[in-house]
Amino acid sequence: MITFELNGEAVQADVSGDTPLLWVIRDHFKLKGSKFGCGMGLCGACSMMVDGVSTRTCVLPVVAVANRKITTIEGVGNPQMLSTLQQAWVDASVPQCGYCQSGQLISATALLKSNPNPSSEEIDQAMSGNICRCGTYPRIKKAIQSAASKAVLTGQSTQDGGVNIFEPGAQAKEGMA
């Protein structure tokens, strides 16, 4: 039995410890937002935040996340309550097929948490682990920049390091708990 925190809730999984976290989340907890793309840590479709860091979970055995905090796309926001970044994604019509976008949003969210106003090169760097086969990169960058400038302009700042990732922050977090 492995215990960890999933989107703010303590959970337990009765699975073999070498099972990659991705499959535990998808098959066991039935959260389907995180995707399978390569199984080798190469594409980022399976990205989740592990203690706030965007992590490839298709190659991460579930034992490695015991007692840690996991945030999946379902924990970032939802259709009724979009995060600032998700809203920027919708406004810029970022997704095409959409399959990579959960992973993209996780990496972008983790980036803005640690670096609220990234340069173009810093965005390239932070997003380099996430492939989009539909080629939405120009729009992803635009959406990150617009979310970052919005957060800076409106002076929203949170305990997360200067960027209000969740909008409106407090309620979204309550909603998830």
Binding site: S16, K32, G33, G39, P79, Q86, C97, G98, L105, G135
Partner: protein, 738 residues
Amino acid sequence: MSQQTDPLISSRRSFLKNTAMLGGGLLIGLPLSACATAGFPKAGDKDFQPDAFLQITPDNQVHFYMPRSEMGQGTYTGLTTLIAEELDVEPSAIHVHHVGPLSDYENPEIGFQATGGSTSMRVSFKPLRQAAANARAAILDAAAQQLNLPKAQLTTQNSQVLAKGKAFNYGEFVEVAAQLGVPDETPLKRSNEFKYMGKDMPRLDGVAKSTGTAQFGIDVDFPGLHRAVLVRSPVAGGSVKTVDDSAALAMAGVKKVVTIYNGVAVVATSYWQAKQAALALNIEWNEPEKLASFSSDTGKKWFADALNSGDFEEAFELGDGKDGLEKASKVYSAEYWAPYLAHSTMEPMNCVVKIEEGHCDIWVGCQTPDVARGLAARICDLSIDEVTLHSTFLGGGFGRRFNSDFVAEATEIAKASGLAIQLVWSREDDTRHDFYRPASLARFNVGVDKNGMIESWTAQRAGPNIMPYTLDEVVDGKAPGFMPNGLVDWLSKRGYGLFNGLTVDHSSVEGLYEDYDAVNKDVQHVTVDPGLPVGFWRSVGHSFSGFFKEGMMDEVAHGQKQDSVAYRLAHTKNNPKLNGVIKLAAEKSLWGKPLSKGHFHGVACHNSFESSVAQVAEVSVVNNEIKIHKITCAVDCGFVVNPDIVKAQMESGIIFALSAALHGEITLKDGKVQQSNFHDYPVLRMAQSPEIDVHIVASDKDPSGVGEPGVPPVAAAVANAVFAATGKRLRSLPLSLS
């Protein structure tokens, strides 16, 4: 859209067959297929699989049953916008549903229900608007009767009828409207009346796809669903000789191990268990000899030998190409090569199949649902009415999901195991068992007259054809039910031989010769096919011919000491659309003006899917590394329903094509594909993506394709810029200077 393929005109008589009550409300259906005459069957009682495009319910909900697949190209938004405009409803208020197969959803240009060939907007533009306009007229008729007012005093606004300062929901009138019937051929809005069409609008699937809530095939799940992993013959077309499954069967979670026509499947409770157990299988294979004897390092000679054999079929003639070459004052000759390519959709192939009590349910995201359903029916020995196909979003298509091999596999596994299963391909499976973009070798001889104008344009292409591989599936999936299986097998297997001898597959030569003015043209084809399955890869034949033809044109222009843009303009006098985009791309890229130090421009243009695209690449070369800084793109795709989606599709096509231009290559060793995942089959990442600047030509012509036409010019624009930078002419893909 040409007159004879315009479904509106050809199906005028049978247009708008039916209105019916179904769970209350007004149902509007229309046949997109030119010859559809049947009315709409009743919705199945097992599942909600309605048979209409449009439904308006008494509580004022508008439902649109989308006849095409959404795989990123924007159909979901684009087609819904057509409905919204003529029905006068907010696009975002319309409930959009993916639907299963129905003959009335057939693609009139393809002949079955298919999403491909960049046709969705092209073939839906008028029929869907007409359906919605007629529905709105029917509601107004009913409102006039119910409110006892002359129709002229009624108008509509956002799902409501306005009368004498009051607003009434459409839903209040649908029952009467259904009884009164739906008028035919209501006039459509004029472009100056458009509220939604022609404007940038956010994608309607944007929220679902930004929150992880959009459902793809791989996300389908229900209690009792098992996962399956299939180990296929490493040489395509092989079969199982012997299998030792004892170790696999002993592993945790494993329920069944079954052998099907192309491999051995492990069925387990979870994907990870199935995947681990599949590694423990011990299989010997029967391998097809011809493909097993093919290796890429020596195999290019197969293509060269074919080209040298002189054993050509004539594909196209205008004037006398050979005579033109003899009379020419100068002849330019060159050979171009393009390798096999995998699609690498982000979502690996997958399919859920449940067979129970004489019924088969399939959940899948695919481009050809009725072929898939037909294949499953044949495998299960059921009629197509006993097979229900539930469509989902597609995590990328690019032509890969035009094939239904993964549906056939999943159905075979479900049948053999007796369990409801989800077949999930790994990335390795996906890279190694694709229907690849056909490798191609082409030779051009282009003759120029004494004035420097092209006198004769001739091309010869050697390579495999796509159609035989497609025929195999389509015959199996679409053969009438009364044909015995044996006959269908014979026909589809024979199809290969029959086809290759019968005619030149147009997709093998398309794009090699059409675009430039020349009085003499000659195109010949010779088939050489090692036996690796080939299929439709975004822009199909144009994916290689765009590179070939545009490289060649640049060579001729350079040989004639002409400016690349000016020379193209001089040879597109009969092709005003292409001429227009070349001018626009040149103007917007500041062609001919000084660039940053070390930066060079290259231009290319191409017509495909009835659209014209020109691109200028800005490139630098440092230590033999090609860096692409910017692509300026001009497109003429007729009237644009949503400019932002057209721009997105150009961006997408450009980045997709850059992956191929810089990295893409599938190679074989003894018939086995050597690449497996994104480390050895890399695709572009954000840091390598150039700035992209898209310009759309304003047009009131009917819409034409956008999903694919952005692809063909890209590699040539880059190669031509590399030539400008280095003087080296790159005639082989992927582009490499070392």
